[in-house]
Symmetry: C2
Subunit: 530 residues, 2 copies
């Protein structure tokens, strides 16, 4: 990346001859020394290519890299000149203007021209040229310019990185286990009516499925979460947009988010035309409704851990408190999925036990390690599943729209471990597509403590971690490997299921829908009651 | 209400003299007999005021009431004429047109002029006149016309009824009990940091408060819900608008609902200008965002029972299944409140155990009665609260935008019982404003079985019922009367709280915020651990 432009400095009065000599010396010093400071690579620093001294002004052609950027270079030049000319001749800087600034990028990159300061974007010979409007001193001091350059830098990196968005490195896997079942549990659950689809990717779970889910969640809490000292909290499930800016989700996964809007008025009489229309036409037209609601100012629970960082926003913590270990299971998450929705395996509205922690780096890593151990025990010994763990692109890098250039396994650095279980109904265990991600464990480094400004009283570094247990997916994974005969279920899980009487299935004239479904329900329901 | 208009019937050919005589007789029969059928009040029936027989047509001036309405009258006239003229002269009806139809209403009523068929609305001398466009046969046959008249009728009733929207009749109350505490538990909970406000009417509950809430929910389930055989289900928490049309909420409480929208595209590159803007400006502008999302096609969980009726939509049930008794506690409800938001007593996002049932009327009434008994036991014996029960305007009448004209206590008819608890911190028990509604029990009659077309295989009538247990409000009510010293708490509740170790409070450099808060936390936290 190169940044070029012409810096025009207007002084408070005409320059005497001696001042012109001084300026030449200053420019030499700047070019050889001060404009090179801050990077070891002179290419990434700033360079004065030429200059011209006028009666009361100085015109400088600048060409800079990405470390000492043109804005920083302009301000350094201004400061040095103002200090020397002020001291020697009582001359000040009246005006600073960067004309025709241009950013020259390798590769073809799309940058939105609706951005402030951007005049024109075009490409020639595999380069993208971003022309900016003229910038004044106040513009150069704004972080907006810095963020704009960061955005472009990121896009440039992403361009060079290409489409290699998927990284997956096997960490560990279980032994292969005898296959008991080859059917799709999603299909069976719908056929026997334990679940009923209400809308795209949304379902009602009847009491039998609710009971199986609850039993699995309780078992997970008892075996994994509670022994490690995590305590339950209740997090809201709708967040102002600003929270999504801070977590990065609004930048990284905005296409999968569901947004919420408030009514424009609390006075119901203002809705009368719409209510009249709905009453007479018996339909609710979204476009009409939109006129009565505010633009979306919230998004629905996406990662479920958002409120944890939000809770500690701007707080100063001390050692007595740390580490904090909480979990939340108080409501659903929403993830819009355009394709690939399937049963309760891949859904729009789903349920998760979200485990979160906060502490010093060594505490956060230690908790992650202990959690990982427990997960392995839970997968292998408690549920007896065929599983594997993988090191994947740190999710928050993806989710925040930032892309890292390389991936390496360093378990003590921020990153994510995916937990996957084989689904025999999908096909051979050799193919990746036949494995289901049921959860993950991440440590985020300072990503969230920084953006939510969570501080330590002795300025020590604070990290966070989170882990999501996708309830529906764990149950599907279990049923996919073990089937619907409880005698094949892991002993401990069966014990939890048997703690309470098995709930009634819904069976009546038109439900389940098909004769096959009703027969299958009868068989499965009978086995549950043995 | 009067409806007037001119009906023009064009026949398939010119009328012979004899036919004109027949028509005169037919009109006499219609006016004295057929147009009066369907109501005992001749004023509410239809009347032919005058008529004129042309060469091939008949022009009739009609004036009708609200029982045999002008559309129905027009079709009756058409049918009789077509049958007689067809038989005697092979003459058919070629065309039917109602010109200049007008609805004359008592009182000043606002009707949206954007409604289809409406030409003009104006008022004169305390009457409202609704002029419709000319209507043809196909219009007269549409239910839209019927619904329009119903809408106007309802508005007319509401106008006459005035603002008397609140009905409240005491059913039963507890004895007065000794007052232990006069402080506002909401204030204390925030001060000691057990809850933290994140956004308008939304809070994060830390583990100590979560534990108190969970203990109360468990106690309620064990004492009230499970002994009556209710089983847990999991309901979605976001519903398509059509569901709100069927429950009536979209018409009755649209001003308190939160709406949800999906992204327009699943392709993240289409969001690039917005993402670039958010990255550079570090803000998420709702108006910009709105351009990238669809108009709202969902609403967030409002009454929490919606999915229950939705589940049984279009199903045919038999006696073996009935009654169905479920509850859901899988996530939050959202209710936009413009004013009066206070602590966790009145909030935007809240948690509820929603109890629902479905059966024949006697089953539904019986379940309601048993539930009411258990509630009373729970309030009085288990929690030892000062409480009262009130019969209120059937909520669904209010909620669906329909207003009933009188209220009477007939406990076996559809209606709602409110459960209220006194909040000593608000003031004297004599004043209504110092009582908090913590829940209610409703039976809906056929309201939902009708709109969701839930049928019985032998065509017997099916009713539904629901009851909401507002978790936060019950806890606030308990703390408001008993305070924060567990030794004053009801024995059974304390037993549930003591089942698990009391969770850690958050106490660190900047949290709780004030010195008083930190001291109060220390005192309360210590008592919890005794």
């Amino acid at each position: 990346m190169r940044i070029v432009g012409t810096l025009e400095i207007v002084f408070s009065k005409a320059l005497p001859m001696e001042a012109k000599d001084d300026i030449e010396k200053v420019i030499e010093y700047l070019n050889n020394d001060y404009l090179k400071k801050g990077t070891k690579d002179p290419n990434e620093a700033a360079n004065i290519e030429s200059f011209e001294i006028g009666e009361d002004r100085l015109i400088i052609k600048l060409n800079t890299g990405s470390k000492v950027r043109i804005d920083e270079a302009s301000l350094r030049i201004r400061n040095v000149l103002s200090s020397i000319l002020g001291r020697n001749y009582k001359i000040g800087v009246r005006n600073l203007k960067l004309t025709e600034p241009k950013i020259l990028l390798d590769g073809i990159i799309s940058v939105s021209i609706s951005l402030p300061f951007i005049k024109k974007v075009y490409s020639e010979e595999r380069r993208t040229i971003v022309e900016l409007n003229d910038l004044f001193e106040s513009d150069l001091k704004k972080p907006i310019f810095l963020r704009l350059l960061r955005l472009i830098e990121e896009k440039e990196k992403r361009y060079r990185w290409g489409g290699k968005a998927e990284h997956w490195i096997l960490l560990k896997n279980s032994s292969t286990k005898p296959v008991l079942f080859y059917e799709d549990p999603n299909k069976i659950l719908e056929e026997i009516g334990w679940i009923k689809r209400t809308s795209i990717g949304q379902w009602i779970y009847t009491p039998p499925l609710t009971h199986l889910l609850n039993s699995l969640k309780e078992l997970f809490l008892d075996e994994v979460i509670k022994p490690l000292g995590f305590e339950e909290a209740i997090f809201p499930k709708m967040y102002p947009l600003e929270v999504g800016l801070k977590t990065g989700h609004l930048k990284g996964v905005i296409n999968s988010m569901v947004f919420a809007s408030l009514p424009k008025s609390y006075n119901i009489s203002e809705f009368e035309p719409l209510i009249d229309y709905m009453t007479v036409m018996d339909e609710a037209p979204p476009k009409e409704l939109q006129k009565y609601v505010e633009p979306p100012s919230y998004f629905l629970c996406f990662a479920q851990c958002e409120p944890f960082y939000w809770f500690f926003e701007n707080e100063i913590l001390d050692d007595n408190l740390l580490p904090v270990k909480w979990y939340d299971m108080s409501g659903p998450s929403f993830r819009w999925e355009a394709g690939g929705i399937h049963g309760i395996e891949r859904i729009i509205e789903f349920h998760r036990i979200e485990v979160v922690w906060l502490g010093k780096p060594e505490q956060v890593i230690d908790i992650r390690n202990r959690l990982l151990e427990k997960y392995e025990y839970f997968l292998d010994k408690v549920l007896d599943l065929e599983w594997r763990l993988a090191w994947v692109t740190p999710w928050f890098y993806e989710h925040s729209g930032i892309v890292e250039e390389k991936i390496e396994i360093d378990i003590d650095r921020p990153g994510t471990v995916d937990i996957e279980v084989w689904l025999p109904y999908k096909g051979s265990r050799e193919e990746n597509k036949n494995w289901l991600e049921v959860g993950n464990i991440s440590i985020h480094g300072t990503k969230f403590t920084q953006s939510f400004r969570i501080k330590h009283n002795k300025d020590e570094t604070l990290w966070t971690g989170c882990s999501g247990f996708g309830s529906e997916r764990w149950l599907i994974a279990l049923l996919a490997q073990k089937g619907f005969d409880p005698s094949s279920w892991p002993k401990k899980y069966l014990e939890y299921v048997k703690r309470k009487p098995f709930p009634k299935s819904i069976s009546t004239i038109t439900y389940p829908k098909t004769k096959e479904g009703r027969e299958a329900l009868h068989q499965i329901d009978t086995k549950m009651r043995v």
